[in-house]
């Protein structure tokens, strides 16, 4: 899967109330959630995003509540990939489970500025900063997670019976 888009940069400890304030948790509709993505920080964010764009953030991205509405809001506003120096753990597993691509890399984050054009080949584990003409290679996921991702998320993974022969 190849992802192309412009980078939107955020700092450390972006929490789930920033990503989708609790008052909007009265729906499970992805597009509706997307309209309020990042409202806690910048209410105009959804209007700045073009389909395919990328979020680049600092440490502990997605900390706070377990709301799966957070990765869904990010997906719903058109973001195709989140790259962060580190992720809070529930947010991380929610992304794996719902199929929002994520990459953990301090090096990549430090080498991307806001509005840089980015191209990511997730299967090859290759990130290109086209604006800066730099290429980075990232580690693949642990086998179990890679298996869930490749199957298309946790529910599909269950339906395909992978639970009985999981990769460890």
């Amino acid at each position: 899967m190849i992802i192309k888009g412009k980078a939107h940069k955020f700092g450390d400890n972006i929490n789930t109330d920033d990503i989708i304030p609790a008052i909007y948790l009265v729906t499970t509709a992805i597009k509706e959630l997307g309209k309020h993505c990042m409202e806690g920080i910048d209410a105009s964010f959804p209007s700045k995003v073009k389909e395919g764009d990328i979020i680049v953030a600092g440490k502990n991205f997605g900390c706070g509540s377990s709301r799966e509405h957070a990765p869904l809001a990010i997906k719903g506003c058109g973001i195709s990939l989140v790259i962060a120096e580190s992720f809070a753990r529930i947010f991380y597993r929610n992304c794996i489970n719902v199929g929002l691509p994520i990459i953990t890399s301090q090096e990549v984050c430090k080498n991307i500025n806001a509005k840089d054009d980015i191209e990511a080949d997730l299967l090859k584990g290759e990130i290109k900063n086209i604006t800066k003409n730099k290429v980075f290679h990232i580690d693949s996921f642990p086998p179990l997670l890679q298996d869930i991702i490749e199957t298309g998320g946790l529910i599909k993974w269950y339906l395909k019976g992978r639970i009985f022969s999981p990769k460890k």
């Binding site: 400890n13 929490n15 109330d17 920033d18 304030p21 609790a22 008052i23 948790l25 009265v26 729906t27 499970t28 806690g40 920080i41 440490k59 502990n60 900390c63 706070g64 509540s65 377990s66 709301r67 799966e68 509405h69 869904l72 580190s86 809070a88 753990r89 529930i90 597993r93 929610n94 489970n97 719902v98 642990p142 086998p143 179990l144 997670l145 869930i148 998320g153 946790l154 529910i155 269950y158 339906l159 639970i163 999981p166 460890k168």
Partner: protein, 420 residues
């Protein structure tokens, strides 16, 4: 192995697990609420199955936007209720029968040593206080667990927190956990199991331990845990759980910890976390002059009986500041009733506080105590992020019920010792 590793090994049928290992573990209890369950329910309903394999392991509690705050939240609660009926989930707690999930489950006897509990709510880590492994997950995880009885987990590294010495007056579990979060930061226990030990923890009540484990997530922790002891076993006696089900584990002497923190609690004052991070803590004596518009005493962190008793002790015979709203929220119906019997409600009402039915409402800026632009609130809740309790330009300060009650009287952040 640590106690956490032992519980996880038991639940995946292995003799030994090591940090970093991925496992598929058997789940004893899976929890959902009115915000997180509807997403999980959508996934389960898509499968068109007639039954869930283990409806008795599922617990559903509508507590976040209840009593229903608007049409949309009412609909979410209805989705949860219909699902519970359809799949014969008897552990469904309707308004009036339950309360805030993380106070309710330990009170109803769902939680005991050695269990593995997942909940689609980040504060599920609360239950580690009774010697169980408990962690917050997402809605898709909850759907997966309802369908399969299992959860995928990465075995966490453990981090040990040793609290020695004797607590000062008015210092509680809330202060001990805020102090640790202030020390290590909001990602200081990232992905780790936080194991709380030491003389001060041994002497801490179950309520105090629940408060501590509740906030493990605020340091980025996967779980918090207190090894079961006499206090734990005495507490769960009331539920008459078959002895064979209770697995009392203890960390081995040679168990590996990625880090160990040692605190002398005699040095710890009541703590206040300033906006906008739970790690932004100061001793109350250094809080300065912070005038408040609202005080909230309640939540899954501090809405238990012990919390209400402390608040009542301070508020008895006093009045809250005339320009300040004080909202007191017993976390469950049972706590509410007991507080009523003990005369605590009369003390609160005479002091000028308002008593709310059990709800998570104000903690998430949902309802029942939302803040206006520029307002400042001191709350016994767990998060003080930007806009958490209302307007983006409001402020939240986190502290114990003792500090909250004292602050309500003074109209500004205050040390309980100042008003007693």
């Amino acid at each position: 192995m640590t106690i956490t590793e032992k519980i996880l090994a038991l639940h995946c049928g292995e003799k030994k697990v090591t940090p970093g290992q991925f496992i598929l573990a058997d789940v004893d209890i899976a929890l959902g609420n009115d915000i997180t369950a509807p997403l999980a329910i959508e996934e389960v309903e898509k499968l068109n199955k007639k039954n869930l394999p283990h409806p008795e392991k599922v617990v559903l509690v509508s507590d976040h936007f209840t009593p229903n705050k608007d049409k949309e939240s009412a609909n979410q609660c209805l989705v949860v209720k219909k699902f519970a009926k359809k799949y014969a989930i008897n552990n469904y707690f309707e308004l009036g029968c339950g309360g805030i999930e993380h106070a309710l489950l330990p009170e109803e006897g769902f939680i005991y040593p050695g269990e593995l509990i997942i909940g689609a709510d980040s504060h599920t880590c609360t239950y580690g206080a009774l010697g169980a492994f408990a962690t917050g997950v997402g809605s898709t995880d909850l759907a997966f667990t309802m369908m399969s009885g299992k959860i995928w987990l990465k075995v966490p590294e453990s981090m040990k927190f040793i609290y020695s010495g004797k607590l000062r007056e008015w210092v509680t579990g809330k202060d001990l956990i805020l102090y640790a979060i202030g020390d290590i930061g909001v990602d200081g226990a990232h992905y780790r199991a936080m194991e709380f030990r030491g003389e001060a923890i041994s002497k801490l009540s179950v309520d105090g331990r629940l408060t501590m484990c509740n906030m493990a997530i605020e340091a980025g922790g996967k779980s918090g845990i207190v090894a079961p002891d006499e206090t734990t076993l005495k507490y769960i006696e009331q539920f008459k759980i078959p002895k064979s089900k209770i697995k009392v584990f203890e960390s081995d002497k040679d168990a590996k910890y990625v880090d160990i923190k040692e605190y002398d609690v005699g040095e710890i004052e009541p703590q206040v976390a300033f906006p906008h991070l739970p790690s932004n803590t100061k001793p109350v004596s250094q809080a300065g002059n912070v005038n408040l518009d609202q005080v909230v005493i309640g939540s899954c962190t501090n809405g238990r009986l012990e919390d209400l008793r402390i608040a009542a002790k301070i508020l008895k015979g006093k009045k809250v500041h005339p320009y300040l709203r004080t909202i007191i929220i017993p976390a469950t119906q049972k706590i509410y009733l007991q507080a009523l019997k003990e005369g605590l409600m009369e003390i609160f009402i005479n002091a000028g506080a308002v008593v709310s039915p059990p709800t998570c409402g104000p903690c998430i800026g949902g309802h029942m105590g939302v803040l206006a632009k520029g307002e400042k609130c001191l709350a016994t809740t767990n998060r003080n992020f930007v806009g958490r309790m209302g307007d983006k330009e409001s402020e939240v300060y986190l502290a114990s019920p003792a500090v909250a009650a004292a602050s309500a009287v003074k109209g500004k952040i205050a040390d309980p010792a100042e008003v007693m």
